[in-house]
Symmetry: C2
Subunit: 340 residues, 2 copies
DNA sequence: GATAGCTGGACGCTTTATGTCCCGCCACAC
DNA sequence: GTGTGGCGGGACATAAAGCGTCCAGCTATC
């Protein structure tokens, strides 16, 4: 059953939303018995006109009747609702989950794709696609977008598609190199995104693991300085979320540092910071780029991550509380809620 | 599984249509391997621009790729199509059936509702509803509509709904009384239809089973004459279809006549005429009203009938060849095709 | 008999969809 | 190598649909 919807959603992406909207209308009318258009519109948070279009359609389908004192479910409508009831949870589970996660972490928007990234590459791809849509919707002319690295980010970049060239937008890497494969570096991703959108980009070449002296002197370089300033004024930040242990290993942190992270209860990593269960910052990478205050100042911070194994890390970063939008998958969302 | 498709047809019929369109596009591309937009548009009977909007969306969904020599299904697209195949029949089966019936009998339009009228009153109601929609779509200002009697016609009348009053339309009974319950007489139905649409109507009171003399003299009556002239110039004719034996009994024909009908192979009845298997007229009722030549002259002839038991009769009347639109149910349509 | 709340009609504005044309490009045939 | 037909994709004016808003007429209820 689930499959069917999954298939249909590919063909008609907003199928479920529409079904949900109509279900809610029918359900509301069922509960109220008889109800007028205005009060119905108010209680469903629809405008009178759009509701009316829906009501006309539903009546056309013979699901409801309009009397002089409001609309009522017809016999067929009641029967449909009854058949629909057991499917509701499965049908709209994701949007309910989205809402639950949104409220739990006080986010502006949550997008959840079906499945578990840990188990299927399709789901990973879907997160990338969903993320790219969110980014495209969020961008406005003139915006500077700072992006992090990682495979999820790379996938997001690969799916971004815009209708019109964004000639006066900039993409910048949120931080210097991360010692990863070049495909997954923030620099690469920023340039890829710029290429795909017709926007401009700047790169930031600052090696990891610099001594304090070397760091200070490289920061004096005018063109490094310039890029860093741009990064710090980014209006949109897009980042992946990792679990602390994996990230520490990938970044080849010293055993000493890793021990320290463990002692401090570091669970999650995002934009170069490590967070404990409560969302407190317990460690930060020493490298040029985005600072916490820049994150706070950014208008839109978008987090991308999926897979049940990342649920805890996601919960931790969300508790940190400066993300606005989360794009994840079903398994991770459930896990994050459970941990929170 | 079947439930959900069933529900969707009721709740989101518009989206089901969209799904069908997109399925057809994918399917066509799959068959062709790779295909250009223009030739695709031509073969699917869509305009280039609308097709393009669909293609953009499907590509957005990752279902197809656009190369230099046309569009091709992506791996995901092929997979989707494969998964979709078993659903196609259930989802769009009726429209394929509609098309098959349409071609078989050379009709302008065929509307089929799911189910079997013999088994469920809901299906009968649906035929009425569908018929009323067809009629509303067919009517244009100034049109005279001639209607027959019968329960199906009565149900159709009960569901007719128009957006604007049809002040300059007329409804007339196609024939005089049929000796049935008053609710199902053509006169009653014509007046009901007029009341529901804001149109005007005329009645025709000519008893069945008149002697030739009485018939001739009643036809001299100016106001009978007037109504008959109107009937004969109807631009739209709506009629039910019955099987010959049942109708003969209902009309209390003499045993002699019934024997004659049987001998001549009468199978079906419509607008007062009896037809054999090949659609030839084998008998006609002697009463005032629509003649065969008026049927032939009418712009739109709409036939309504459902139930597997009527399949053969429907096939017979359709072979007669002067209907333009058929509204029926799934079982009757299958049976009619089988018999033809 | 007054009143509140209902449906359905109307209308102008905004957004979206659509028809149409064109350009540069690539593959293929010659 | 070169010509050519068909391709995708951009552009744009226009038609159509969607939507917010208001109103008339009606009816149930107090």
């Amino acid at each position: 059953m689930r499959d069917i919807l999954h298939i249909q959603k590919k063909l008609v992406p907003d199928l479920v939303q529409v079904m949900e909207k109509r279900y809610k209308i029918l359900h509301r009318i069922f509960v109220a018995g008889t109800m007028g258009r205005r009060s119905l519109a108010a209680s469903l948070d629809l405008t009178e006109r759009t509701l009316r279009a829906e009501l006309d359609l539903l009546r056309e389908q013979g699901l409801l009747d309009a009397g002089t004192s409001g609309v009522t479910l017809s016999e067929a409508g009641r029967r449909l609702l009854e058949e629909l009831e057991p499917l509701v949870k499965e049908l709209f589970g994701l949007s309910e989950l989205e809402e639950a996660v949104r409220l739990k972490f006080g986010l502006r928007k949550v997008v959840i794709v079906a499945g578990d990234s840990d188990e299927s590459d399709d789901v990973k791809r879907e997160i990338g696609r969903a993320g790219s849509r969110v980014l495209a919707q969020s961008m406005e002319p003139g915006d500077i977008v700072a992006v992090m690295g990682g495979t999820t980010m790379a996938r997001m970049a690969a799916h971004l598609k815009v209708s019109a060239p964004m000639k006066d937008n900039w993409f910048v890497p949120a931080r210097g190199g991360l010692g990863e494969s070049v495909d997954y570096q923030a620099n690469t991703i920023a340039s890829e995104l710029a290429k795909r959108t017709g926007a401009r980009y700047r790169m930031l070449h600052v090696p990891d693991h610099l001594s304090e002296d070397a760091y200070q002197s490289i920061m004096q370089e005018p063109n490094v300085r310039e890029v860093v300033d741009m990064i710090r004024s980014a209006r949109i930040v897009v980042h992946g979320i990792g679990d602390a242990a994996t990230m520490a290993r990938r970044r080849k942190l010293s055993q000493e540092t890793i021990d320290e992270l463990i002692r401090d209860g570091a669970l999650a990593e995002a934009f170069g910071y490590y967070f404990d269960r409560e969302g407190r910052v317990v460690h930060r990478m020493v490298t040029a780029g985005l600072r916490l205050e820049d994150i706070e100042a950014a208008g839109t911070v978008i987090g991308l991550a999926g897979g049940r194994s990342k649920g805890e890390a996601i919960a931790s970063v969300m508790r940190f509380g400066h993300d606005d939008v989360l794009v994840t998958d079903e398994a991770a969302a459930e896990e994050a809620l459970r941990r929170a």
